[in-house]
Symmetry: C2
């Protein structure tokens, strides 16, 4: 009847039936030999394996997924694909997913054209068996989707209030480490370049910075808290604000390495020297941090490990195909990975005022 593909079969692409014929067994036996070898006799198993090798059989995943009512893939929602901070995390996820035979689909949540619709699709949809979300500021329709949403794990960022599983780092503690480092060097006037205000990471790091200052009895002048948005460009803008101040903080904690680099870059253009004139601490420990001039003192996040952990958690959730809460009781729970202060050349004792 329907043969628009006269060549397709002829050209190759053997199916399970071809293998069965070649091995002299039924398709059921082939299927079992490949996915549950214990169920078939050694003789049949060998025959099937041989037939597979001879025919060059590759399983058709669409058929398998249809039958199993699954999709064979996980979706990763990332705010900015081109941001190197995320690519290391992606790499971690990819490794685990590929070991588990799962495809990793990457979707940029901040893509211009019709992003909203597309994201909603991924959420509500049957297009993924699991979801890893790296973006804590998804559109509102996030949870409106429907009850049969795939398991979700948040990584790095998360949505407050939702009791989703997540893999994060101790952002508050990282900020405390950063500020205490500056204090330990003798700084008394400390500033902070913040991320976007609605971002959960911004809030946690800000809280940590505030706490550390308060604990040391330091005055947290509101003019020393610069609004920015994690990008290089916003770090540059913060540097301009810093330059315009009457009384300048001698130590600056930036909520991202990108901002710290932008900040230092702009200061350099204006002849201000780091760390001689001002000390700078970043957050993330991106690749370039170690090799920036000066090398950036920063808070290291285990980015690759974050991705791996999130993927492992998601797999556990997917395997125990129970409801979220049940799986949780079963063992999976949110993980907070440690951060680490990496001292490099961008910090020193404050200049003698």
């Amino acid at each position: 009847m329907d043969d628009r593909f006269p060549e397709a079969r002829a050209a190759g692409n053997p199916n399970i039936g071809d293998v069965a014929r070649a091995a002299g067994v039924s398709t059921a036996t082939v299927s079992r030999a490949l996915s549950q070898p214990d169920l078939v006799s050694a003789k049949a198993r060998d025959a099937v394996l041989k037939a597979v090798a001879e025919t060059g059989y590759k399983m058709n995943l669409a058929a398998r997924n249809l039958r199993l009512r699954q999709t064979g893939g996980i979706v990763v929602l990332v705010p900015h694909l081109s941001n190197p901070f995320f690519s290391a995390i992606l790499s971690g996820i990819a490794g685990i997913a590929s070991q588990a035979g799962l495809n990793m689909l990457v979707a940029d949540t901040r893509e211009a054209a019709g992003a909203d619709r597309r994201i909603a699709g991924y959420l509500h949809n049957n297009s993924a068996d699991g979801l890893i979300v790296l973006d804590g500021n998804l559109p509102d329709n996030f949870d409106g989707g429907g009850r049969n949403r795939p398991p979700v794990v948040f990584a790095c960022e998360w949505v407050e209030g939702h009791d989703q599983l997540s893999v994060t780092v101790d952002n508050r503690h990282g900020a405390v480490l950063a500020v205490n480092h500056l204090i330990g060097l003798g700084h008394r006037r400390i500033g902070h370049v913040m991320g976007p205000p609605d971002n959960i990471l911004t809030q946690r790091r800000l809280a940590g910075a505030r706490d550390a200052m308060a604990a040391a009895g330091l005055n947290a002048d509101p003019r020393w808290f610069f609004n920015a948005n994690f990008t290089l460009a916003s770090g540059i803008a913060a540097a301009r604000s810093w330059l315009a101040l009457d009384e300048r903080p001698s130590g600056i904690f930036c909520s991202s390495d990108a901002m710290a680099c932008g900040f230092m870059s702009e200061l350099n253009r204006h002849g201000v020297r780091v760390p001689d004139d001002v000390s700078v601490v970043g957050f993330d420990d991106i690749d370039i941090a170690e090799h920036f001039i000066p090398a950036l003192t920063t808070i290291r996040q285990p980015r690759h490990r974050i991705g791996e952990t999130a993927a492992e958690m998601l797999l556990a959730l997917m395997r125990g195909d129970a409801t979220k809460s049940a799986a949780r009781d079963g063992g999976e729970k949110s993980t907070v990975l440690p951060v680490e202060l990496i001292v490099r050349g961008s910090t020193a004792a404050p200049p003698i005022a």
Copy 2:
């Protein structure tokens, strides 16, 4: 019979039959209303659309792909997922692919565990309708796969000899621009930090650099050509080699920005100043280049555009489901995108010897 999923249907996930029932038409009409609206009457079409909205129907892609003998996705083979140079390209690909309703699968060809097997799978396999390869050094079994391989487009790197379609930049010309810039500033001793020797980009850029030097009648001292591998770390090693020279080139063209940054970073540690003591030119124009200290003079590659172009080319290839050569005659052909010299602070006239 087989009902391991008693809840699945009940829980929701309407199928095309449910929609048909709700709309009072047959499944054939639903299918046509959704994918070939011109074939059904306005009345039926509206009824179907209404039923879709009511039931919250989402098409099952596995079923569609099975029937259409396709996979609904394209695979991107990238050498190092965590390398920011590639993530911008990925972002370009992702945008085009998502517009076309295709999933983008990302696979890291340099992943530790069993990478070879996995890659071969992607190639020979029915796991993708198309393939974009960003790695010019794939394992040898690349073309041995079989005749029913999906369409392939190379981007950035490519395999010499294979007459595959590709999207590249004019690497040779970029190198000429870089070296001529140094020559124009008055440099007479020019060095080159190279990429890995088996890499096609290394070879093209090296050729361009050599040609430009020869054209200006400059001596290309072999000791001024440093072996490296595009990474930050290898740029640092190159800097050490440079420091160890008796007679040092006053201008250095690095085959990647990452190496240029590593190079400058290491020189800085040894008190050598850029551009006062030595001028440095990079290649790529990665994000940090503009904000490095000093800002890096470099050759800009349109990374996002490279990704978009490759994706568009692949789509054209996939649509015209003809053989590679036929599609080529039909219009698609390899594209070479232009590069651009971006002059910044890392280059200046040579010091008075």
